[in-house]
């Protein structure tokens, strides 16, 4: 399943990084601590978080993540959107809380590590 397909199924709104939405998804990671994501996320993970600061784009490129889902109706900061466009890191928005989004992704077959 691609990121775009998952977004359509879950009603996620892409706001940046359109060119990378066709990326195949496999696994995901949920955390709001950037140090934790840097230590434990894997390349290709879809990252679910409430963090909106531009540092998330730096972490996403460093770890080669598939994209970032911002939860709870949060909006990325202006600089975050700008950097996401430059780096083509997909950002998708949802009003759902993290637990619900992760649960629905899981039902689509996007799992974590066991």
């Amino acid at each position: 399943m691609t990121l775009l397909e998952a977004a359509e199924k879950l009603g996620l709104k892409p706001v940046a990084g359109q060119s990378r939405l066709s990326r195949e998804l496999d696994q995901g990671y949920v955390s709001d601590l950037l140090s934790d994501v840097m230590a434990n996320a894997k390349p290709g993970d879809i990252w679910v978080t409430l963090q909106i600061h531009q540092n998330i784009i730096a972490v996403a490129t460093l770890k080669e993540l598939a994209g970032i889902i911002l939860i709870g109706g949060r909006q990325p900061e202006k600089q975050t959107l700008a950097k996401a466009e430059v780096e083509q890191v997909p950002i998708l928005l949802t009003d759902l809380p993290a637990f619900e989004v992760v649960g629905r992704l899981y039902q689509l077959g996007i799992t974590g590590r066991r």
């Binding site: 950037l34 140090s35 531009q54 540092n55 784009i57 730096a58 490129t61 460093l62 950097k83």
Partner: protein
């Protein structure tokens, strides 16, 4: 290099100040240093140290300032609201100090930690003077320093 930590519980503030006498930065560079995509590294386009510290300050109702002068050095001052629930813990500062001292023994390091009215400080220049010929990163020195820092921090109530 100087690292100063101040825990002012009464004023509900915590400060971490890092001062060096290195190359320094002009105003433009000091501003850009907060951009996670600015770095002087050649292996990567991303430099996260200062941006992450800055964000950690902001998340705990604090702020970070960089004062720098080319040829003179840099002073980074990070402030936090001490009681803020999202203030990250200081962590294992003992091992961090040992890492800095042994990884770069040629750099003189002063660590000063104030908590309310107590103070713990350690100056590697004085340690080196006491050691004479013996290098700062000799294993016996490292374990003695580790124990010294551990007991100093415990006495402060900061470990």
């Amino acid at each position: 290099m100087e690292i100063r930590v101040v825990e002012d519980i009464e004023a509900d503030r915590m400060f971490i100040e890092i001062v060096d006498d290195g190359f320094g930065m002009d105003e433009e560079r000091a501003r850009r240093a907060l951009d996670p995509f600015f770095t002087t590294k050649t292996v990567r386009r991303v430099g996260l140290g200062l941006p992450l510290l800055s964000e950690a300050c902001r998340m705990s109702n604090g702020d970070m300032q960089i004062q720098s002068c080319p040829g003179k050095g840099t002073r980074v001052k990070a402030t936090f609201q001490h009681s803020h629930i999202d203030r990250k813990p200081l962590g294992n500062i003992r091992d961090t100090l040992i890492t800095v001292m042994t990884g770069h023994p040629q750099v003189d390091l002063l660590y000063e930690h104030r908590r309310e009215d107590k103070v713990f400080s350690l100056d590697t220049r004085e340690v080196k003077a006491d050691l004479g010929d013996i290098p700062l990163d000799a294993p016996q020195v490292v374990s003695a320093l580790r124990a010294l820092i551990q007991s100093g921090l415990e006495e402060l109530g900061a470990s």
